[in-house]
Symmetry: C2
Subunit: 331 residues, 2 copies
């Protein structure tokens, strides 16, 4: 088997040198354990924070040890009666092609209920749930709201925008980093407007796309996107603080948002969240989004990279915004 | 009668030249109106925003017209049966020594229920209600919380800190701008700790005063105070965004808070509010705080300036932090 280890910690932007691919004998499952052949693994922006040696809401990756993260695969050897050989399971030991886990640490999923097993890493998995919880519970989305989503062509943003439309948003606006992604948002996902944040200041483009202001901002980006959203938010507006990918590789603190004091007079609510504390919403999420998926009402483009050796470069590409939809590695 | 008019709009810090004292004949009340001899008028930080010609949650003051704001006085002539001569009333036409108002625009208050009528401008009035609503409803204070209040010797902060103590806070910390105010907070108001924000960085002093972090931050100041609070807030911490006096006179936007992205992992909630949308809480507030006042459990120091002509200078002193407790003008 092969696994990818953290070779060194980055300062600023990570590089391929921070990762090391290692060959090992494929392990045997012990009592109560299963051996999983991983079919897909996930790369996600939050992993950048785990490369730093700082305490956060997830433990940092350890130097010289394999990275980890969500993966889906097939059980190929089992010492656990309730997880038979052939089962498709979701678990937390990505960044390797084979994984041994206690049966309690895997969750069986139904491969027939998804277009591809990788959907359990994206639309039907953590990033989909993040979009669902962030929009509905954190930002308290209500029918008729005008919604702005940054990083809208990404795994979380693309679902947040679609859920807003399906739940009756008046208008959904997205930002992304290329003309192609902007077309994808409008033509394929049904966003009412979208813009390339590299073309002109976010504040100007957002005002043009939302002349009557916005009621909800789903923030995946931070920085000047957040500042622009605060400026465009209407009275009683709500912000779900989900990510700040614009600043994950910054070595100096960001200057924005400089207009947070506007939150007083507008009576805004800004609320941070991490999805792992909202797993109780998984059944509602799977029921609602699963039904939209079966009805063809929600789309889940993925950016698929082949082979474990390509995972570090795929992860770096994700941080540079090279993905559309969920970025996954096919093993 | 005399009134104070807006002579010009300030850029940055206001000066005495922005105000003009004008003599007029004392007006007569029309049908359904009363003539009030103002006893006290209020100066408040929010009035700084009204000196700018920008739309906000309160209309700007008009050039060449009298300023306005909360005042309390005695009815000296009345054409309204329900508001007799001799009644003490609260109303919105401060910055003058006599005011004519429709009876519907005054609220009778009980002078015997307060140590001085000016209490209806502070502890039992708008600033007290602001503290009450901000702490309990906006920041969702819970017994056992550790609370940090900035501008803690001011009209709002001093009440917010005392209400937190009386409602069972584990620890209440205040910041203020002089050694005398720091002593006042600890020795007279019962704060557990207080510091002078001019002595050292707020972040360092707050960490020392709250080694186990804070659960609630009541923000009257913005800027580096808000940044320090975000840094010290514990998981699920809550911020009431009430004011940003540190930046009301700034002509460039503030750099802070540069660490707002910490709100994601800590799952913080930041919520702005203005008290005028929370008047429905007035009965609860008057019942609870009034009882504490009668029992001698809550203190309400005032900084009293004599005479209408001194009002502009008193207002400027308020913006410089020269008051302890509510700043009022005795007419």
């Amino acid at each position: 088997m092969q696994e990818i280890r953290l070779a060194s910690r980055p300062s600023g932007w990570p590089t391929a040198d921070n990762f090391e691919l290692v060959e090992l004998p494929t392990p045997e499952p012990g009592p109560g354990q299963v051996l999983v052949r991983n079919q897909f693994m996930s790369v996600d922006p939050y992993m950048r924070g785990r490369m730093n040696d700082v305490e956060s809401y997830v433990a940092p990756f350890q130097l010289g040890k394999p990275l980890d993260g969500a993966a889906v695969g097939e059980v190929v050897a089992s010492n656990a009666a309730d997880v038979p050989v052939g089962a498709t399971v979701l678990h937390g030991l990505g960044w390797r092609d084979y994984a041994v886990l206690d049966a309690a640490h895997v969750r069986a999923v139904d491969p027939a209920a998804a277009p591809t097993p990788s959907a359990y890493l994206g639309l039907l998995g953590m990033t989909g749930l993040t979009a669902y919880v962030g929009l509905l519970d954190i930002a308290q989305f209500r029918e008729g709201d005008t919604v702005f989503v940054s990083g809208a062509a990404g795994a979380v943003g693309s679902v947040a925008g679609q859920v807003a439309k399906l739940r009756g948003a008046k208008r959904v606006i997205g930002s992304a980093g290329s003309a192609e992604k902007v077309r994808y948002l409008v033509d394929e996902l049904g966003f009412d407007a979208a813009f390339n944040y590299k073309d002109a200041p976010v504040r100007d483009q957002l005002r043009e796309a939302a002349p009557d202001g916005i009621d909800v901002y789903f923030d995946n980006v931070g920085g000047d996107h957040l500042e622009a959203a605060i400026s465009s938010l209407n009275k009683y507006g709500r912000v779900a603080l989900c990510g700040a990918i614009a600043q994950y590789n910054d070595t100096a603190p960001p200057a924005a948002p400089r207009n947070l004091a506007l939150a007083i007079g507008k009576e805004l609510t800004l609320r941070g969240f991490i999805v792992s504390n909202h797993n109780k919403r998984m059944p509602d999420f799977v029921a609602e989004v699963g039904a939209w998926l079966r009805a063809g009402q929600i789309s889940a483009q993925e950016t698929v990279v082949e082979g474990l050796a390509g995972a570090p470069e795929a992860f770096l590409g994700l941080l540079r915004g090279e993905n559309t939809g969920k970025m996954v590695i096919k093993l």
